[in-house]
């Protein structure tokens, strides 16, 4: 806590070294958050950049009422949602099945319980589903809050989440099936 206090105070003084320390400490985790919401890696970097600039500019508003990481994460999520809202006009909604061919084949890889694998599954969800799924299943918002955040109906949030879950299940089943039918080759000597 003391460490966080020093970080925040240093950032308030606009001490570039401390700002860098804050970045080094949290950028990795926050980058994963960005990537959960934004599929394009370059855009995810842009969102992370915007979020950190916002964090440094508004660090004064952080009053240690919650863990620093949680506050930072909220800033990132809000920045990502804002970015998504801007992108909406041209962002295509593609179904996960359309993207299935781009996924690695079972004989090439194995669906491990690796966040990177799960991240890819989430990123391949249609944008609307993806946002709702992230907010509900990972961030812990309820549907009323999501509806308020995204300016959609509560029912829409529920249906989008159900759809996301269904699509993810389909993909997981497919991966499991290919895994069991094509077990990885191993050799012993």
């Amino acid at each position: 806590m003391q460490d966080e206090y020093e970080l925040v105070e240093g950032c308030r003084r606009q001490n570039r070294i401390v700002q860098r320390q804050l970045y080094e400490r949290f950028a990795g985790k926050l980058f994963v958050v960005c990537k959960r919401y934004i599929r394009d890696p370059d855009e995810a970097e842009d969102v992370l950049q915007d979020a950190f600039v916002k964090i440094y500019r508004h660090i004064d508003s952080f009053r240690f009422e919650c863990p620093l990481e949680a506050w930072l994460k909220r800033v990132v999520i809000n920045t990502a949602l804002k970015h998504i809202r801007k992108q909406k006009p041209w962002e295509q909604t593609s179904d996960i099945q359309e993207l299935a061919p781009t996924l690695p084949q079972a004989d090439e890889s194995l669906p491990t319980l690796n966040y990177q694998y799960l991240l890819q599954l989430i990123q391949e969800l249609p944008p609307g589903c993806r946002t709702v799924f992230n907010l509900y299943a990972i961030e812990g918002y309820n549907h009323v809050e999501i509806a308020d955040l995204l300016d959609i109906a509560e029912g829409t949030s529920k249906s989008q989440y159900a759809r996301a879950r269904s699509l993810l299940m389909q993909k997981l089943r497919a991966d499991e099936k290919t895994l069991t039918s094509n077990p990885p080759r191993t050799t012993t000597t």
């Binding site: 990795g28 690695p104 918002y141 991966d175 191993t186 000597t189």
Partner: protein, 517 residues
């Protein structure tokens, strides 16, 4: 299969707890640059932080003022040339006219493929040695892990089956598993895979954490639930859960956006034509009847602007958030009209009216003919009498003819842009630079074709290009632009010994479509 239906609600959250992937170095560089820009902004209070409406107004006002200043500077730099022209014996009244004016991409396929291929390679390897894998007990022998795997989810099950099979084959001869020969990356990927698998199913019971939230620096109101939920559900992670994806943590250069653009610019073009030297004398009709050649006056030609259209294919690159550079190639087709004193034929002067006079017998066209008489221009060569007329200088300054000019240029612009509204959907940029005009031809009165070989117009001439451009970008890759441009030629576009002087100026509105890569 049924296990899939029973994935617990917190499965996804736990899977991402502690996930850590270092962003490329370029991200910090960009952040630092923005922070530096903020610092500079404080030096100039007028600029403000753009967070308040009054600041935005100031930014816009300053932008408009800067545009006006640029335009005035361009105009001012052109004016002396005009004055020096009029200082010669030939006065030119130019009518300006109405200027119409590696990132660590998702580790996905390649990452996992590498990881698993290397894992399999490690398993196949028969070399003994100390490995990180050997330091871990075989997964099948860990009851907690095995139980969790079977109960937690289908993925866990799949993973457990895989690792069980893997362990069955490898564990009996653990010493034979040699990852030492694998690359460091292989060892890391392997241990990472194992570590994640374990930690994702061995979370520690929930902690009780304060759920108060801090204020949020964002434009949108957000409830504090995320903090509450996150704090409530936050598992304590073992150190090994923090897996740093090192797939592409190397320095990534700042992304420079590039674009290609196709535009058309209708506008006005004024060649500002004047005579370089006056013929010997001019006839004034009013005086001629009584006193031939006594009241000789300096003949002048005037040019009027007319329509032009320029087509341009260009490409640009965004150097920084605000600065960009662009170049391309274009084609300019421009018309203008030159008012010129009519040629006087003493024999028949009394009977001539302006309408009777041959359409191409006037001072301007004769000046051109005088230059091209010796050339291969068939029309000019066939009408050498006019050359004689120009030499003897018999023109009526009160009877004037209009001569059409049809210019064609190939243009190569090199421009720098400064974004006043960077990263906005509706952008505004000031643009300035140079334009290389490659003279192709000028068709005078639809009869005389002047080409670079006639040595009247310079093959190459340069013009300044100043203006402002709005760019509306409704999609990630496409945008439309609307630009107002003012392009005065720098110096003369005619050769030093040409009988005419020309200092073209064009202005117009450019409409373009851009594709951003």
């Amino acid at each position: 299969m049924n296990e899939l239906e029973n994935i617990p609600d917190d499965f996804w959250r736990k899977a991402f707890d502690g996930a850590d992937e270092r962003p490329p170095k370029g991200v910090w560089d960009a952040i630092e640059q923005q922070l530096d820009d903020d610092s500079k902004a404080r030096v100039l209070p007028l600029w403000g932080s753009a967070s308040l409406p009054v600041h935005r107004a100031l930014i816009w006002g300053t932008g408009v003022a800067a545009s006006a200043a640029l335009l005035l500077a361009g105009w001012w730099s052109v004016q002396p040339a005009n004055r020096s022209q009029s200082a010669t014996s030939v006065a030119v009244h130019t009518s300006t006219g109405p200027a119409a004016a590696t990132a660590p991409t998702i580790p996905s396929a390649s990452h996992r493929q590498n990881s698993l291929t290397l894992l399999a390679d490690a398993a196949r390897s028969s070399q003994a040695g100390e490995t990180r894998y050997r330091q871990q007990p075989p997964l099948a022998e860990q009851p907690d892990v095995a139980m969790a795997m079977s109960a937690h989810s289908a993925i866990s099950g799949a993973l457990a089956r895989h690792y069980a099979a893997f362990s069955a084959e490898v564990a009996p001869s653990a010493q034979s598993v040699a990852v030492q020969q694998a690359t460091p990356y292989a060892r890391q990927a392997f241990s990472q895979s194992i570590s994640l698998s374990i930690t994702s199913v061995t979370t520690i019971p929930e902690q009780s954490v304060s759920t108060q939230s801090g204020s949020i620096p964002t434009d949108e109101p957000v409830t504090g639930t995320v903090v509450a939920q996150q704090a409530k559900n936050q598992p304590v992670l073992a150190a090994e859960t923090s897996v740093e994806a090192t797939t592409d943590a190397t320095t990534k250069p700042i992304r420079r956006e590039k674009w290609a653009s196709l535009s058309v610019m209708p506008g006005a073009f004024n060649p500002a034509v004047a005579l370089a030297m006056a013929p010997a004398a001019t006839v004034n009709n009013a005086v001629y009847a009584g006193n031939v050649y006594q009241n000789a006056a300096t003949p002048t030609v005037d040019s009027r602007s007319s329509r032009s259209v320029a087509y341009q294919l260009s490409a640009g690159v965004q150097l920084t958030d605000r600065w960009s550079v662009e170049t391309g190639v274009g084609y300019l087709s421009a018309q203008s009209t030159v008012d010129s004193p009519t040629q006087v034929n003493p024999v028949s002067l009394a009977m001539l009216t302006t309408n009777d006079a041959p359409a191409t017998n006037n001072l301007f066209i004769d000046a051109i003919r005088s230059r091209t008489a010796g050339s291969a221009n068939a029309y000019v060569a066939a009408d050498r009498n006019t050359v004689q007329s120009y030499a003897t200088g018999r023109y009526s300054s009160s009877d004037r003819q209009s001569v059409s000019n049809d210019y064609q240029f190939v243009q190569v612009p090199v421009q720098v842009g400064y974004q006043l509204r960077p990263r906005k959907r509706l952008g505004l940029a000031l643009i300035g630079g140079f334009l290389t005009n490659i003279f192709v031809r000028n068709t005078v009165a639809s009869q005389v074709v002047v080409t670079p070989s006639d040595d009247i117009y310079r093959s190459l001439s340069w013009a300044a290009s100043l203006g402002a451009r709005f760019r509306y970008r409704p999609s990630q890759h496409w945008s439309a632009s609307l630009a107002g441009l003012y392009q005065p030629t720098i110096g003369n576009s005619t050769t030093s010994d040409s009988p005419i002087r020309s200092h073209p100026t064009s202005a117009g509105m450019s409409f373009g479509v851009d594709y951003h890569f």
